[in-house]
Symmetry: C2
Subunit: 181 residues, 2 copies
Amino acid sequence: MAMFDLAQAIDVLRRTPDTLRALLLGIPGELERGTEGPDTFSPFDNIGHLIDGEETDWMPRARIILAKGANRRFEPYDRFRHRARNRGRTLESLLDEFARLRGENLRVLESWKLTDTQLDLQGEHPQQGPVTLRQLLAAWVVHDLGHIAQIARVMAKQYRSDVGSWLPFLPVLTDHEKPRS
Amino acid sequence: MAMFDLAQAIDVLRRTPDTLRALLLGIPGELERGTEGPDTFSPFDNIGHLIDGEETDWMPRARIILAKGANRRFEPYDRFRHRARNRGRTLESLLDEFARLRGENLRVLESWKLTDTQLDLQGEHPQQGPVTLRQLLAAWVVHDLGHIAQIARVMAKQYRSDVGSWLPFLPVLTDHEKPRS
């Protein structure tokens, strides 16, 4: 049962900057930079990763599909681009930058007034093979929601040693004990 | 390594109503009422459950601890109270009610100006046995963050059949395939 509707997807994507600002702006440093373990993302890293998505992932790939060129293969995505890019930045400035980039991308996406035929166009993902524009946009929505969930989980885990015998009754504290992708 | 600090905990608790409003107010019905499967909570159910927490769980239990009476046993908590309570309600009215109840509870909590000695006072949880006020308040913070994560995950899962070959690369879609508590 498919859920995807373009206007609804844009509506969900538009919510993310304000949701993350409400959750994160002004939180203490231990919550901002705390992780789930080595090579996992803090809330700060998550916002950097979302910015990378705006600049290098979703819309560039949509443009490759819509260009209908001979080569529709996407550039590989660098999951760690944000590490060097955002050294010395504040969380507040990243939240502002993410909101600005997301706003610009959604204005462009809306201006395309995509048809069902265009949403069925394909590109080639370097790992996954052929994918449609509709699947790309649905994955963008899910990716946002996944990072909202991840940020809330990582914040929760900073309190792991404070809850005593509540630990087994708060599943968010024991989700993703081993990082998954 | 303990994270808990009372002022910081209150700050995190204060964020939840606005975070959930940004994420949920005005979303389509399929997202509002979609679940992860039988006997799991939709976003609508999650807000009802958070309201139950405000009315029957966290602050009533804190009061039992602070009263230092002979019987400090907490009332059992009804996870499904919200089902009958909120029949016919809109998500918007639940979000408003949650914000109001949370605001009132945090005003009371701040007015107590709890000392470390008070935070060390104990109550008796019906399943868990003795717990401190500090652990109760830390569990409240984690519980909020867990439900933010759950709501984002449940919303994401409504798009599960739309993402094609992205499925294995979006772990939020396959988290909690079996409900955990």
